[in-house]
């Protein structure tokens, strides 16, 4: 009970991470059911309506209740440690934000299990008119909307807390240009959250008013405009992609130099690229609306192509950091390399989809599904596993198994690519997304079969990971304060850290205060 009401940032960080992982298991299970249904032509497992609910709740859970909150959990735990602060700036606000998130999760799950014909089944984007009450009756969509409004509140509170903490609670000597990259990336994520979430709250509130109080903003028949919803939603939706990926750019940028035994290559360039991504990500929202015919396609195509440049810069930082280094292929590094490979494919196909001509062909096909899973699952989720294997020893004081970790990595990498590469093929062959069934003989059978086998393999990988965590917490192999030879300040305190984080702070004279303390002969 004490853990559920404690305002200590480390406790709240763990609450976030554990809750988010539970939601990952829920969302992943829904995906396994969908893949089972699609393994062969004809219907086997679920009804049409249930399938619609499955992909609605799967998307919502994975985006709003798993990846972003997991990053928030890491931020809660590690930002104060990385900047040398005793806690977050607003501890009560922090816990409040967590409970808004839990409330959101409960509402979204209730939306999925509402009585037959009443569950949310309008897709995670909930476009009107499909999400209007005449086409999506029942309480499920309303609970879903309320849940997402709580997600918005939670994220805004988090953004305020993170910015205040980083700007006003850094240790003496921790200048902004000495901030660890994970913390910097979370600053940009916090700003994006403050900017992008409120319009989504407006979109959702107008939707609820339309459903329950007779509002007509999105009703074309009454002179409204349903594309207003799309504008408002995607003004969150696309920065949200960066809200989901930037934290894990930060995570692997913490990991790669440590496991290459070199300083980060191009710290300033990396940060400028992050800041540029933060700015440009607010100007690309309508590339999700190319086919609506009501937006200026060249403007959004140009902005989308532009944002690929700072994203590409990061690959140079990562490769430059590894180049000539003494690379240690421990599990966190393996997941970081997996992240790079997968995200590269996700990014390149994103550039392809930035072309309206190609997007018109690929829109609403499995090509898009494969693309965003390569960024979100191949990118963010590999980043999450990298973070877990990297920081678990700091959070618990015990090591995870290196051997099982390698097994998890291998199965996830193979399983992930088996699942989603065939979906590029499906998309090219024209299979639409969100269909519960397909006819045999259209070239969809084999890719769907392979994709489902891959999904099962990923399920096994996650099960092995859970065994690894359970076994490690039972065996308690001590990690020591700094098992990896880490660079940033969190490695300069005990594992797990004491209540107010540091008994004594080292001098901060570079990007690597923990390393400087251990190797004074190399310190600046």
């Amino acid at each position: 009970m004490h853990r559920l009401v404690s305002t200590d940032h480390k406790n709240i960080g763990i609450l976030y991470c554990v809750s988010a992982f539970v939601f990952f298991l829920v969302g992943g299970s829904l995906a396994e059911v969908m893949r089972t249904e699609l393994m062969e032509p004809s219907r086997q497992v679920v009804s049409n309506e249930t399938y619609n609910t499955l992909f609605t709740i799967h998307g919502t859970v994975m985006i709003f209740l798993f990846v972003a909150p997991f990053a928030t959990g890491l931020a809660n735990y590690f930002i104060p440690l990385q900047i040398g602060a005793p806690d977050m700036a607003f501890p009560r606000l922090n816990l409040t934000s967590f409970y808004f998130y839990i409330g959101a999760g409960v509402l979204v799950l209730l939306a999925g299990v509402a009585a037959a014909g009443q569950a949310a089944a309008m897709g995670w984007t909930a476009y009107p008119p499909l999400s209007e009450i005449r086409l999506s009756p029942g309480v499920g969509p309303d609970l879903w909307i309320l849940g997402l409004v709580l997600v918005v509140i939670s994220n805004v509170l988090n953004g305020v807390n993170i910015l205040t903490t980083v700007f006003l609670m850094r240790a003496p000597g921790m200048t902004m240009w000495r901030l660890p990259v994970f913390t910097w990336n979370m600053v940009v994520v916090a700003i994006l959250g403050l900017v992008a979430f409120p319009p989504a709250a407006a979109a959702l509130t107008l939707l609820l008013i339309g459903r329950r109080l007779g509002g007509l903003v999105y009703d074309a028949a009454a002179g409204g405009d349903p594309t207003i919803y799309q504008h408002l939603f995607w003004f969150l939706g696309h920065p949200e992609v960066y809200i989901l990926i930037l934290p894990f750019f930060g995570v692997i940028t913490e990991i790669i130099p440590v496991f290459s035994r070199k300083p980060l290559f191009g710290y300033t360039g990396f940060l400028l690229a992050t800041l540029t991504i933060g700015m440009l990500s607010t100007g690309v929202w309508a590339h999700h609306m190319f086919t609506t015919g009501v937006i200026d396609n060249p403007f959004f195509a140009a902005m989308t192509l532009l944002i690929a440049v700072p994203t590409g810069v990061k690959f140079f930082n990562w490769i430059g950091s590894m180049w000539g280094g003494k690379i240690w292929l421990a599990v966190p590094m393996l997941f970081s390399i997996g992240f790079m490979l997968n995200f590269l494919i996700g990014g390149v196909t994103g550039v392809m989809l930035a072309s309206p001509a190609l997007d018109y062909q690929a829109h609403d096909t499995y090509f898009v599904v494969a693309h965003f899973h390569y960024t979100m699952l191949g990118g963010s989720v590999f980043g999450i596993f990298a973070a877990i294997y990297f920081w678990f020893p700091k959070m618990t004081g015990v090591m995870l198994s290196e051997k099982l970790g390698r097994v998890v990595f291998a199965m996830l990498l193979v399983g992930f690519n088996l699942t989603f590469w065939p979906q590029f093929v499906l998309g090219q062959r024209g299979m639409p997304r969100r269909y519960v069934d397909y006819a045999s003989g259209l070239g969809y059978d084999t890719p769907n079969f392979v994709s489902t086998i891959g999904a099962y393999l990923m399920g096994v990988a996650v099960a092995v990971f859970l065994v690894d965590v359970w076994r490690s917490l039972r065996r308690r192999t001590p990690a020591g304060d700094d098992p990896w030879g880490g660079y940033s300040l969190e490695w300069a305190t005990s594992s797990p850290p004491p209540e107010h984080n540091f008994d004594e702070l080292p001098k901060i004279r570079s990007l690597r205060p923990a390393f400087d303390r251990e190797h004074p002969e190399l310190a600046p």
Binding site: V5, T7, R92, Y99, G103, L146, G173, L275
Partner: protein, 127 residues
């Protein structure tokens, strides 16, 4: 803080210019309003930071030569250990919101929970 202030100013300029350019290219109102509203957010923070000299001035964390052992004398005050009020605040919010779906009968219950939570927060923060 100066680095942060500069970034907020930069964000304001970017969003303002993007909003104006977007309007003259597309004449589309929703996106223009979104971009200009986006410009306001960092502008508010930047103006606050610039006007408050203590924030934009030099603090130990902005001093590259500062030493935590000698310069970290600032007392941050006590940190709250535990609180149950966030749970009631969220419950109150959910119940009030659910009144739109299940009927206005829930409003008094939700409002009571919200008031109780706010009073609890206030009492707690006064020690």
């Amino acid at each position: 803080m100066r680095v942060a202030t500069r970034y907020f100013v930069l964000l304001f300029l970017f969003a303002s210019v993007a909003g104006i350019v977007y309007w003259f290219i597309t004449y589309e109102a929703v996106g223009t309003i979104l971009l200009l509203a986006f410009a306001c957010t960092p502008a508010i923070i930047a103006v606050f930071a610039i006007r408050h000299g203590s924030m934009s001035g030099r603090r130990p964390e902005d001093d590259a030569e500062a030493d935590p052992a000698t310069e970290a004398g600032e007392v941050l005050g006590p940190f709250p250990a535990e609180t149950v009020w966030p749970i009631f605040l969220v419950l109150g919010t959910i119940v009030t919101g659910a009144s739109l779906v299940y009927g206005l009968i829930l409003v008094p219950v939700g409002a009571a929970l919200l008031v109780w939570a706010v009073l609890g927060f206030t009492r707690e923060s006064r020690g």
